[in-house]
């Protein structure tokens, strides 16, 4: 009986304590980080030395760090945090909106003053946005646009929304289709991503770009959402059997082994070069693909965009935002069109060891280190991003 009592008492105690003072929770939890920030500023003012200031802490919610994109983000952001002298706390492996929200809650409790996250879906944006607003925490998203208009408007009205960034997909599809058209290939098969996917803009962008070059789409497929590669074999076999005149494939996504599978299937069905590929993403075996004449161009190298996102958030957290309201940044793709570029890409871009933006560059965009830094500086830097620029920059 005693034990039972103890059980009930403990359970009730915990819940009651957590419920007590629910009403004033916002003030109490919200004021703490703010106070810390003020204190930090005070100290900065006193000593006049930025390096002795209290370090900021930024939480990052990422799906994982095991694939090439995640690994790159993980490495770049840790480097950027070191450069800007902030602590970074990671929350990985959340695959639904609820878990992302739970991670946001825990990160804020752990003292993070800003959140950078890759939302799993629109609901996650809405939940974390609301939570951040309640707790007066700045948040920045990366790699994602918001497709639901209600959520988009609500987020844009949120004073703690620093901004988001996404890939310049339309520009890239145009570029890829042009590469194909320049080779005189105009009869296409299109590989689409599932319509609800965050990348689905590429589907329509390809259709538009094909019209622009006066090409024809003979057939298309939609990539399986379960990530199995077996389906690609069937798609490509059907394309080749039904449309012998097809001479180009425009692929919206080739991650998760899709690119290799499609290339291997082509090799078993047609003569080299009979059908060539332009595609988003880079994949294993692309060197052979260029060498043997299966690939025309690939677009990739966008993982680096997390760094500008981080800089935006840092400035906001440091109370010196680069811009009023929210900002949307566009990330250029890098195009690979031959074997040589493959190896350059592998050396400088698809390599988490190599920092595309060095510490000096990163610091020059933070007002704490460079009071003259502007949003335009950041945008200019992003626009100059290309394979040539990366190589030149590394050479210096």
């Amino acid at each position: 009986m005693k034990k039972k009592l103890a059980a009930i008492v403990t359970a009730i105690a915990v819940t009651v304590v957590s419920l007590a003072g629910c009403g004033n929770s916002t003030e109490s939890s919200g004021s703490a980080p703010a106070a810390e920030t003020e204190k930090a500023e005070g100290e900065t003012a006193n000593s006049g030395n930025a390096e002795e200031a209290v370090r900021h802490k930024i939480g990052v919610i990422l799906y994982g760090k095991d694939d090439s994109m995640g690994a790159a983000d993980y490495a770049y952001l840790n480097y950027a945090a070191e450069a800007l002298e902030v602590d970074i706390q990671w929350a990985l492996n959340d695959y639904d909106a609820e878990s992302q929200l739970a991670s946001a809650e825990n990160l804020v409790s752990a003292g993070c003053e800003g959140l950078l996250f890759l939302p799993i879906n629109d609901n996650a944006v809405s939940l974390i946005g609301d939570y951040c607003q309640q707790n007066e925490i700045y948040f920045q998203m990366m790699n994602r646009d918001i497709s639901d208009n209600t959520i988009k408007e609500a987020t844009q009205a949120n004073p703690y929304y620093v901004g988001t960034s996404f890939e310049a997909n339309e520009a890239a599809t145009n570029e890829l289709t042009n590469f194909m058209a320049e080779e005189g290939r105009l009869k296409y098969g299109v590989g689409k991503v599932p319509p609800g996917s965050s990348l689905s803009v590429r589907n329509t962008a390809f259709e538009e770009s094909v019209k622009a070059v006066n090409g024809t789409i003979l057939a298309d497929y939609t990539a399986p959402s379960d990530g199995s590669t077996q389906a690609y074999v069937t798609y490509i076999e059907n394309f080749v059997n039904s449309y012998p005149e097809m001479d180009g494939l425009l692929l919206s996504s080739t991650t998760g082994g899709g690119g290799e599978t499609i290339m291997n299937t082509l090799q078993s069905l047609v003569e080299p070069g009979a059908i060539k590929i332009v595609a988003f993403d880079t994949f294993e075996g692309m060197e052979e693909g260029f060498e043997d004449g299966w690939l025309t161009a690939l677009a990739g190298g966008i993982a680096v965009q997390c760094v500008p996102d981080f800089i935006m958030l840092y400035n906001a957290v440091d109370k010196t935002p680069l811009a009023e309201g929210y900002t949307v940044l566009y990330q250029n793709f890098i195009f690979i069109t031959n074997l040589e570029e493959c190896s350059t890409f592998a050396q400088y871009i698809d390599n988490p060891e190599h920092m595309i933006y060095d510490a000096e560059t990163i610091r020059s965009l933070a007002k704490r280190y460079n009071p003259d830094a502007t949003l335009d500086d950041l945008v200019n830097l992003m626009e100059s991003y290309s394979l040539g620029w990366v190589v030149d920059n590394a050479g210096q």
Binding site: V14, L19, A91, E105, N121, S225
Partner: protein, 332 residues
């Protein structure tokens, strides 16, 4: 001579001997039962003193409860299934199905339908699992897995087909009082069913020894099915909470629910093989331990990949201490 032997071989236990023995047993039992509570206490003390007071902040404790609420609700029902010595692997999938059905029908007709639809679909999933297990004699965890895969597939498919975002009006429910109310109602109802009606009593006895239960007139299959129905019902409720907390339904809604529930029940000291030692409070204690551990480690700033390793170790230690090694065997 034979008479003598018989006298010798069955000595009536002296009062002294039996008392001593049972005291030892009692202590062992007590220690076993106390472990989850001690664990909870240790966690609270540990994190309270090592996080600059962040852990004990009201907002943080509220967060922990909100995070644990869905697992508490689903675990409450699942404990009926576990008490009769089955594992319900359908939870995540059933949750996804219920949530999808609830929000899609809600969007089409009226959001007033959302809760009843969630509950009905959840219960139906439970009954399907039960049917596969009892009628088709498929092991319950496999039947559960079928539901799990089906639910996953449905959610992913639906995610591409429908907009599954909860309207702003319903966001008023996104607060701790709502979660607290649901947990309280579900837990109290289930507690009464578990301790004071045939559903709970029979299921625990089936878990203790199915053969004895049969020979004591317990309609085993009927009560097993009821356990699955209760589990399905609470999964429906959990799905509804998940819609509220998740602001809608995503492709991954309900993922890992079964794992988290199993973890929570075990951490709370719920016997893995069911039986009369099963206590409903394990759900609450276990869910709190699980999410406090998660929260506290994040407050410490522990690398997320290591958090899972620590969780795994804690889980093993708890199982090591509390598991029954063979019926009537040694406890610790």
């Amino acid at each position: 001579m034979v008479i003598e032997m018989k006298m010798k071989e069955a000595p009536v236990l002296g009062a002294k001997g039996s008392k001593k023995e049972s005291n030892v047993l009692k202590n062992a039992e007590w220690a076993k039962k106390a472990v989850p509570f001690l664990g909870l206490l240790v966690l609270v003390l540990l994190f309270s003193t090592t996080t600059d007071g962040r852990f004990l902040k009201v907002a943080n404790l509220q967060n922990i409860f909100s995070q644990a609420a869905i697992v508490m609700v689903a675990g409450t029902g699942c404990s009926f299934v576990m008490s009769h010595n089955n594992l319900d692997f359908s939870l995540g999938g059933a949750c996804a199905m219920s949530a999808v059905a609830g929000i899609v029908i809600g969007a089409k007709f009226s959001y007033a339908w959302m809760l009843p639809v969630c509950l009905a679909v959840g219960m139906m999933c439970g009954l399907v699992t039960a049917g596969l297990h009892i009628k088709a004699r498929i092991p319950a965890f496999m039947a559960g897995m079928c539901i799990m895969f089906a639910g996953r597939g449905l959610a992913q498919g639906a995610y591409l087909q429908f907009v599954m975002t909860l309207p702003q009006d319903y966001k008023v429910l996104q607060n701790i009082w709502f979660y607290f109310a649901v947990v309280t109602i579900i837990f109290l109802t289930a507690y009464i069913l578990f301790e004071y009606t045939k559903i709970g009593k029979y299921n625990k006895l089936i878990g203790s020894n199915m053969q004895v239960a049969k020979l004591s007139g317990v309609p085993v299959n009927k009560y097993k099915a009821m356990a699955f129905a209760v589990s399905g019902f609470t999964v429906g409720a959990a799905a509804f909470m998940s819609i509220i907390r998740g602001g809608g339904v995503g492709a991954q809604t309900g993922t890992n629910l079964e794992t988290n529930v199993l973890l929570a029940l075990t951490l709370g000291g719920f016997p893995l093989t069911g039986g009369s030692q099963a206590k409903m409070r394990s759900v609450i204690v276990g869910a709190l331990v699980l999410f406090m551990l998660n929260n506290g480690l994040q407050l410490w700033g522990v690398d997320p990949t290591i958090i899972n390793v620590i969780k795994g170790i804690v889980f093993l230690v708890v199982v090591y201490i509390t598991i029954d090694r063979g019926s009537g065997g040694v406890m610790i």
